[in-house]
C-alpha cells in the first residue's frame, strides 16, 4: 500500500476521478452559494406566476412550481439536503460498520459468531417496510431518515470490514505486534484499521449514491423530507404530478439527481481501480 502523497498523485492522473470529482464539487458549490445569491426565497409563493417555464427574468432560471416558488432555489436546497443526508448516513454506516466489523473479525470465535448472526438477523428484516412502520409510529422526523438509511448501510460495511480483518489478523505483522505486547485495542487501531482504509474508502464512495437513492425513494413515497423543506426525491415526486403541463418541474430535479448519482458511481469505480492498482505498482 502506498503513502497518502502517491495516492493523491494517482487519483489526479485518473481522468474519471478528476472529471466526476470536479462536476460533483461544482454542483455542491452552486448548491451552497446559489440560494444566497438568488433574490428569491424557497418559501415565497407567487400566485401570479404559477408554473412559469425557465426564464432569465428575476433569475428564475429553472422556472417556478405549482405554488409559484422559484425552482432553482428549491432545487439547490434539495441538492443540499440530499447530499447532507447521503454524507451523514454514509458516515454513520462507516463508523458503526468499521468498528463493529473490525471488533468481530479481530476477536473472532464466539463473539464473532454472535455479532455476525445479529447482522444476519437485521439483514432478514424487510427494511423499507420497517422504515415505513417507523415513520408511522414516530411521525415524520428528519433525524429518523439518517437512522433508517445508516441502519441499512452499516450491515454491508460490517461484513466487508470483518472479512478483511479476518485475513489481516493472520498476517505476520499482527503476530509480531502481539509478541511484542501491543494491546488488542491498539492492534485494531494502529495495525488493522489503517490497512482497511483502501477498501473502506472505496466502499463509502459507493454507499453515498445508495443512500441518495434510498432517501429519494422515501421522499418519493412521501415518507422522507416534509414540506416546506425539500429534497431531490421530493421535487421529483412533485414534478411527476405536473409532468404534462410543466415538464421542467420533473426534468430539472431528475437530471440533477441522475448526474449526482452518475458522478458518485463513476467516482467509486475509479477509486477502486486506483486502490487496486497498488499491487501492480
Amino acid at each position: 500500500m502506498m503513502s497518502l502523497g502517491s495516492t493523491w498523485q494517482r487519483l489526479r492522473q485518473n481522468r474519471t476521478v478528476m472529471i466526476c470529482g470536479g462536476l460533483l464539487f461544482g454542483v455542491v458549490v452552486v448548491a451552497c452559494i446559489g440560494p444566497l445569491v438568488s433574490p428569491n426565497d424557497y418559501l415565497q409563493t407567487d400566485f401570479d406566476n404559477l408554473l412559469s417555464p425557465p426564464t432569465v427574468t428575476d433569475m428564475q432560471v429553472f422556472g417556478t412550481d405549482d405554488l409559484g416558488r422559484d425552482l432553482f432555489v428549491r432545487s439547490m436546497l434539495g441538492v443540499r439536503v440530499t447530499i447532507v443526508i447521503a454524507v451523514v448516513a454514509s458516515a454513520v454506516s462507516l463508523v458503526i460498520g468499521v468498528i463493529y466489523g473490525a471488533v468481530a473479525g479481530f476477536v473472532g470465535g464466539r463473539v464473532d459468531a454472535v455479532m455476525m448472526r445479529f447482522v444476519d438477523t437485521l439483514y432478514a428484516l424487510p427494511f423499507i417496510f420497517f422504515v415505513i412502520l417507523l415513520m408511522v409510529a414516530f411521525e415524520r422526523n428528519f433525524l429518523l431518515i439518517f437512522v433508517a438509511i445508516g441502519a441499512i448501510n452499516w450491515l454491508d460495511m460490517a461484513r466487508i470490514v470483518r472479512g478483511q480483518t479476518l485475513s489481516l489478523r493472520e498476517r505476520e505483522f499482527v503476530a509480531a505486534a502481539r509478541v511484542t505486547g501491543v494491546s488488542a485495542p491498539r492492534i485494531i487501531f494502529r495495525h488493522i484499521a489503517p490497512n482497511l482504509m483502501g477498501v473502506v474508502i472505496v466502499y463509502v464512495t459507493l454507499t453515498i449514491p445508495q443512500a441518495i437513492l434510498v432517501e429519494s425513494f422515501l421522499s418519493f413515497l412521501g415518507l422522507g423530507i416534509q414540506e416546506p423543506q425539500t429534497s431531490l426525491g421530493a421535487l421529483v415526486n412533485a414534478g411527476v404530478n405536473q409532468m404534462e403541463g410543466a415538464p421542467w418541474m420533473l426534468l430539472i430535479p431528475a437530471a440533477l439527481l441522475a448526474s449526482i448519482l452518475f458522478c458518485c458511481n463513476f467516482l467509486g469505480d475509479a477509486m477502486r481501480d486506483v486502490f487496486d492498482a497498488r499491487h501492480t505498482a
Binding site: M1, A175, A176, R178, V179, T180, G181, H191, N195
Partner: protein, 582 residues
C-alpha cells in the same frame, strides 16, 4: 546451427530494463544452467524464449530456436513451437496445472492439439510418460486431480506434461524451489535422467543445483550476462567478481568451522510440549508430540525439518501464538502459561520473533521508524519521545540502515532491508531469546550471509539465545551451536553442531544432509537417499513415523515408537542407532 541462439536480447518495462543486451547460444544436447539473484532477469529471459512475456514488455534483439525467430512471432508460430520444440517447467506446479482437469486429460490434450496421437494411442503415451517420470501407480495418477497429488508428484506430473511432445529444449525455471530438500533431490535425479535425451536450460538461484547438473553455466546480474563458461571452470576460477561473490555466499555443508557448544544459564525450556490443531471435520492434527528442548543464554539452536515437521508450531507454542495441548514452557525458570495475550506484558519483552517473509511481517501503513519504535512505546512508557527516537536511530544504525530509511514505508525497502527492520524491531527491547522462523529463506545468498552475520553479532554482544528454524541444514551450519532435527512432530535427533554434521546418528538426519546439493562440481552432494515423501500428518505411520522411508527399518520400527535416548552424546530417537552405520 545452435538449437537456441539469443542475440542482443533486451527486455524493457517502461523505463525499467530488466534484461540488457543478452547474447548466448545453446547447442543441442547441452545442459546449461542460468544463475542469478532475484531481479537478475533470469525468469524474464525464459519467458521471452517461450514468447510468454506480458503485453507491456518491449523487446529488442533476436531469439532463434532452430533458426525460427521467436521474439514477436505470431501466436500461431509460437503454438507450433511450444510443447513440440520447447517446453517449460514452472516453479510452482500447483499454479501451473489446471485444478479442475485430471492429470491424464491435461497431458492428453497436448498430444491431440499437436496431432501427435489420438484415442487409445494418446492414452497409452500419457501413461508411458507418467511411468517415465517416476509417478507410482500411473493408472491412478492418470485419473487424479492435481490437488490429490503431493508436491513432489505434482512436479513430476508437470515435468511429464513438458516432456510429452518430446521437445528439443526443456526450460526449467526454479523447478525445485517450492519442494522439500529430500524431494528436491528426487526431482533433480529425474532431471539428470531427462537431460540425457533433451537439451536442458535450468534456471535457479542455487549454485549447488547447477554444480551437480549442468555442463555450462551463465551468470546474470541485473539483466546483464556477466560470465559464461563450463561449470567446472567457473567454479574453479570465477572471472567476474559477482560470480565469485555468489559462489562465496553459497552455504556449504563440507567446509568451514562449526561452533562448539556454549555453557550458559538455561533461558528457555520446553518440557514435553505437544501442539494440536482442531480441523473443521472434527479431526485433530497433531503437529508437535511430546518434545523437550532447552536453550541457554548465548546459544543458537537450529530447528530443522521438512514442511509439516512441526518446527514452526513448536516455537509458536513457546511464544504463545498457538495454544499448548500439553507440556510446559519455562522462561528463566518461571512458567509461561497460555496464549501471548494472557501473559504479563513484562514477560513479553524477553521473547521476540523474526518471520520468514520480511514484507508480510511489517505493517505496510507504518514508517520504518514507528515500526521499530512501537515496542518501546509499549514497554518503556517512561521514555520521552526524543529518547525513544535516539534509541530507534541507534538500533537502525546497528542493523546497517542509515537515517534516510527512517521515513520509508516497507514497500520502499528491498527484502534484505525489510528483514533488517524486522530484526531491529525484535532487538530494540534487548530480548533474552530471539526466535527466527525461516528468517533468511526468502533472501538472496549474499543478503542471507549479511543477515546471518548480523544475528551472530547481536548474540556476541549480549548473550542472546537464538532459536533458528530452517529447512536447510547448510544455512545454519556456520551459526548454530546445537541442532534439533524434527520429523512429523517428533524429535529425531538433537546434537551438537560438530557431531551432527560429521556423524549423524539418525537415518533421517543423514538423508537430509545427503540431499543438500554442494556448490562444487567436484564434490558429491544432492544425492537421493530417501524415497517417497512425508506422509500425511493426519494418519501417521505406526511405530517410528519414519519407518516407511527408512532403509534400515525392521519389525520393531513398525511396531514400537522409539523414545529419545542418548547415543554417543547426542539425543537420538531410533531403535537401531547403535547397530547401523550411516
Amino acid at each position: 546451427m545452435s538449437l537456441l541462439q539469443v542475440d542482443g536480447l533486451t527486455i524493457r518495462y517502461g523505463d525499467n530494463e530488466v534484461v540488457r543486451d543478452l547474447s548466448f547460444a545453446i547447442e543441442a544436447g547441452e545442459s546449461v544452467g542460468v544463475v542469478g539473484e532475484s531481479g537478475s532477469g533470469k525468469s524474464q529471459m525464459a519467458l521471452a524464449v517461450l514468447g510468454l512475456l506480458p503485453g507491456n514488455a518491449v523487446t529488442n534483439g533476436s531469439v532463434l530456436l532452430n533458426g525460427t525467430e521467436v521474439l514477436n512471432a505470431s501466436e500461431k508460430t509460437l503454438n507450433g513451437l511450444r510443447a513440440r520444440h520447447m517446453a517449460l517447467v514452472f516453479q510452482d506446479p500447483m499454479q501451473a496445472l489446471n485444478p479442475f482437469v485430471r492429470i491424464g486429460a491435461q497431458l492428453r490434450v497436448i498430444l491431440t492439439t499437436h496431432n501427435l496421437a489420438s484415442g487409445r494411442e494418446a492414452d497409452a503415451r500419457v501413461l508411458d510418460m507418467l511411468q517415465r517420470v517416476g509417478l507410482p501407480d500411473p493408472e491412478r495418477q492418470f485419473r487424479a486431480y492435481p490437488h490429490q497429488l503431493s508436491g513432489g508428484m505434482r512436479q513430476r506430473a508437470m515435468i511429464a506434461s513438458a516432456l510429452i511432445a518430446a521437445p528439443e529444449l526443456l526450460i526449467a525455471d526454479e523447478p525445485t524451489t517450492a519442494l522439500d530438500v529430500t524431494v528436491q533431490a528426487q526431482i533433480l535425479e529425474l532431471l539428470e535422467e531427462i537431460r540425457r535425451d533433451t537439451t536442458l536450460l535450468l534456471i535457479t538461484h542455487d549454485l549447488g543445483i547447477i554444480a551437480g547438473h549442468c555442463e555450462r553455466m551463465l551468470v546474470l546480474e541485473q539483466g546483464r550476462l556477466v560470465e559464461s563458461g563450463t561449470t567446472i571452470d567457473i567454479f574453479a576460477s570465477p572471472q567476474h567478481e559477482h560470480t565469485a561473490a555468489l559462489i562465496d555466499a553459497a552455504p556449504r555443508l563440507d567446509r568451514g568451522d562449526v561452533l562448539s557448544a556454549v555453557a550458559g544459564n538455561e533461558v528457555l525450556q520446553l518440557c514435553n510440549v505437544s501442539v494440536s490443531y482442531d480441523e473443521r471435520n472434527g479431526d485433530s492434527l497433531q503437529a508437535v508430540r511430546n518434545l523437550s528442548l532447552s536453550v541457554s543464554a548465548g546459544e543458537t539452536v537450529a530447528v530443522v525439518g521438512e514442511s509439516g515437521s512441526g518446527k514452526t508450531s513448536l516455537v509458536r507454542a513457546a511464544l504463545g501464538l498457538v495454544p499448548l495441548q500439553s507440556g510446559r514452557v519455562l522462561f528463566c525458570g518461571e512458567e509461561l502459561g497460555g496464549l501471548v495475550q494472557s501473559r504479563p506484558i513484562a514477560m513479553r519483552r524477553d521473547l521476540q520473533l523474526v518471520f520468514q517473509d520480511p514484507a508480510g511481517s511489517l505493517n505496510p501503513q507504518m514508517r520504518v521508524a514507528s515500526i521499530v519504535d512501537e515496542p518501546l512505546l509499549v514497554h518503556e512508557r517512561g521514555l520521552s519521545s526524543e529518547e525513544r527516537q535516539k534509541q530507534v536511530a541507534a538500533m537502525l544504525d546497528r542493523v546497517g540502515l542509515d537515517a534516510s530509511y527512517r521515513a520509508r514505508f516497507p514497500h520502499e525497502l528491498s527484502g534484505g532491508q525489510a528483514q533488517r527492520v524486522a530484526i531491529a524491531r525484535a532487538l530494540i527491547l534487548k530480548p533474552k531469546v530471539l526466535v527466527c522462523d525461516e528468517a533468511v529463506a526468502a533472501l538472496d545468498g549474499s543478503v542471507r550471509k549479511e543477515i546471518l552475520a548480523l544475528l551472530g553479532d547481536a548474540q556476541k554482544d549480549g548473550g542472546l539465545a537464538i532459536v533458528f528454524i530452517t529447512h536447510d541444514l547448510a544455512v545454519v551450519r556456520a551459526i548454530s551451536h546445537r541442532v534439533l532435527v524434527m520429523y512429523m512432530g517428533r524429535l529425531v535427533e538433537l546434537a551438537d553442531c560438530a557431531s551432527l554434521y560429521s556423524r549423524a546418528q539418525h537415518p533421517y538426519t543423514k538423508a537430509l544432509l545427503d540431499a543438500v546439493p554442494t556448490p562444487d562440481p567436484a564434490a558429491a552432494g544432492g544425492t537421493v537417499s530417501l524415497s517417497g515423501e512425508v506422509p500425511s500428518i493426519l494418519s501417521p505411520p505406526s511405530g517410528c513415523a519414519f519407518h516407511p522411508r527408512c532403509r534400515f527399518a525392521k519389525d520393531i520400527c513398525r511396531a514400537e515408537l522409539p523414545l529419545p535416548r542418548i547415543v554417543n552424546g547426542s539425543i537420538v530417537a531410533c531403535h537401531r542407532a547403535e547397530e547401523i552405520s550411516l
